[in-house]
Symmetry: C2
Subunit: 232 residues, 2 copies
Amino acid sequence: MAKSSHSLAAQVYARLRQEIMGGTFAPAEPLRLAQLKDRYGVGFSPLREALTRLTAEGLVAAEPMRGFCVAPLSLEDLRDTMDTRIFVETAALKRSILHGDDAWEARIVATLHAFKLQLARRDESDPESRETLENRHRDFHFALVSASGSARMQAIIENLYLGSARYRVLRPGDRSAYLARNLEEEHTAIAEASLARDTDQACALLAEHYRRTAESLELAHRRQLGAATAAQ
Amino acid sequence: MAKSSHSLAAQVYARLRQEIMGGTFAPAEPLRLAQLKDRYGVGFSPLREALTRLTAEGLVAAEPMRGFCVAPLSLEDLRDTMDTRIFVETAALKRSILHGDDAWEARIVATLHAFKLQLARRDESDPESRETLENRHRDFHFALVSASGSARMQAIIENLYLGSARYRVLRPGDRSAYLARNLEEEHTAIAEASLARDTDQACALLAEHYRRTAESLELAHRRQLGAATAAQ
DNA sequence: GAGTGTTAAATTTTCGAATATACTTGTTTT
DNA sequence: AAAACAAGTATATTCGAAAATTTAACACTC
């Protein structure tokens, strides 16, 4: 029982993705097949398939005949990603406000509530608590733009989210800037403006929210770069 | 000699992609591994890798334990794709006009010239001639947005182009609507407005260009649907 | 000592057999 | 006849050995 109906490749993909996002494998770190084969207890085929998928999604980089490595991070990519997110998500939010029905509103209310609950009980020292918070945060933002009516935009938004989430602050000590923000207020304001169908206000608040996030991520990324350099 | 340095998987990927785009495999047609294995003379591994990549890019659909098939087309997807293209590419053009340097201008002039040459000598009865025209058309449009300064946007644009190019009219007889347009004039006008740094005009012309394209593709797609239904 | 070729080791990539899953066809049961 | 079941067939998926390629180590020349 509890036997997953997914193929092995899909399972490996999920685990690998989680471990890259979680920092088990550092950016630019080589991903040796033999090593991963042992770690996951699978053959080459599903491994390769998972890595190929992750490569197409931008989480992994592949060099012909030289294997795979975790895709590197850079300040440039972070800025690009966050700028593009703001651009695409504000447009998607605008359309969602225009077309959103009751289910859309309900989904926003629901995900915001769940996010607030976790925000209140969060424990920064517990990785699992941090992950739950991150997931609920993501769910809320996806809910906001879920009525855009464009599957293509949805896919783009998900991919960009994935790309930016890699810059999350991994070390608890570096999360002070993030935590100093009044996240409950920021998200509530975005939700209220959206539900009130105040397009301009909602988009402005969302953009500002992401600009703050970008700033916070940039700061943390710089600090991490510094730490990495110092550690050499 | 002439031995490709690419891996087998990359070669299979390129061929498969070309054959899907070219209509060798019809939309929604199952892609049987044994059949492809024979056709390309390779083993399962590179085949699977190529199919996985194409799946991530949206050209192929995969069902767990049931293999792969060519991703289906639909009027809904066509509209979504073209709308999103207009949205993203006009923004990218705007930024390119803002940041574009001499190399950007030169690239526009060069690709437009090459496109015009092929337009003049085009032979609708020759598939190769049609493909060359399509490639040069693509090159011009990529050149327009090549100075956006955003690698993420670039990637999105390329993926959306790929998605929409599948709706190209494949049968020569159905290209009348496409050919009736004054393509030389349309593209020249876009290039001129861009080089003159007239952002609003350039974006308006580009959007209009894509709206016409969308219309033409919709027409052809409907016709093809009708033909497919009638043929049953 | 810097450069150059040569062998050995490590690693990726590919192949085809082996396995697991889905589909088909025919049979039985109700 | 419809539904449920049961082989048998077709197909996708996975494995581990084999082949191809890159990297490392080492000796040799200039």
